[in-house]
């Protein structure tokens, strides 16, 4: 096991290993996605309160889960990179930022689209949507900082610190926004009751959540491979790889 980790720390070995893993992860993701979609859009019964609009949940909720999950992964990988100086962890952390931001964006937009038939408005300052909006800004800050620092190693370390500061703040922000929301809750929000979840709805939700997790795993490895190519462009194995691909 220890030997495995030791070898994984070598960029070359990781590049090859990830290359082999990606197709398997991708196929598994596609499988879960298709079954989850069929289950969620066709098999799951219509909600008696919200009609079919609740089906947005099957993309909205997994996307929102992913947005937080990826931030935590990013901060965790950043911490590992900072403490043990593992380049690979830095690569994973920065590769996660774009994917996390896109999931946060998806959760926000689908939440807003779901809100239109439920609340009668495209945007309501609901606690969860507001937190999600702030999370998007945190992601964008990480990406902007990474792009602004020219030395990419320093950039990765700086963004790791930012991600750690963010991860400490997220619970505080979430709590304060929730508290703020209970004080300012508008009358429209009461119309919205969370759908009482039955097992028929829970199964597609979980399937979609697994599919999204696998999707993240696939895509983060793909991005990490690009990042490694870029960083190791002057090393022998990359040049060999390039020559072989011609």
């Amino acid at each position: 096991m220890l030997k495995f980790f030791h070898r994984m720390a070598s960029p070359k070995y990781f590049y090859q290993f990830a290359g082999k893993l990606i197709p398997w992860l991708g196929v598994a993701c596609l499988g879960f996605l298709l079954v989850g979609l069929y289950d969620g859009l066709v098999l799951a019964p219509t909600d008696y309160q919200q009609g079919d609009s609740y089906r947005i949940m099957f993309v909205h909720v997994p996307a929102a889960w992913m947005s937080m999950f990826i931030y935590i992964v990013m901060a965790g990988a950043g911490a590992i990179g900072l403490i043990w100086h593992i380049k690979l962890a830095e690569v994973i952390a920065i590769s996660s930022a774009h994917i996390g931001a896109s999931f946060t964006f998806l959760a926000l937009v689908t939440g807003s689209i779901w809100g239109k038939p439920m609340w009668g408005a495209w945007w309501v300052w609901d606690a969860r949507l507001t937190s999600e909006l702030i999370l998007l800004f945190l992601y964008l800050g990480v990406i902007a900082l990474y792009n602004a620092v020219e030395d990419k190693r320093a950039a990765a370390r700086a963004t790791s610190i930012l991600a750690l500061v963010g991860v400490v703040n997220i619970p505080i922000i979430h709590y304060s926004v929730e508290w703020w929301n209970t004080l300012h809750q508008g009358p429209t929000v009461t119309k919205f009751g969370a759908p009482s979840i039955t097992i028929d709805m829970l199964i597609p939700l979980l399937l979609m959540a697994v599919a999204f997790k696998l999707f993240y795993a696939t895509v983060v490895l793909m991005r990490a491979r690009c990042e490694i190519l870029q960083r190791e462009r002057n090393s022998g194995w990359v040049r060999e790889l390039v020559r072989a691909s011609q």
Partner: protein, 53 residues
């Protein structure tokens, strides 16, 4: 089948959401593929230049 696409009157909301989800997923898959292609061709050109000189 028609009823399925109708989504009980919520067709617009449901299908826009799923369409956007598809777009986001596709963009996430395509961007590393394109980036890798670009990187490899960049590096290949550099390799050629180094080989000639």
């Amino acid at each position: 089948m028609n009823e399925f696409f109708h989504m009980g009157g919520y067709a617009f909301y449901v299908w826009t959401s799923y369409g956007l989800a598809l777009l986001v997923l596709l963009a996430n898959v395509l961007s590393p593929i394109l980036l890798k292609k670009k990187l490899l061709s960049q590096l290949a050109r550099r390799e050629q230049r180094a080989g000639r000189s």
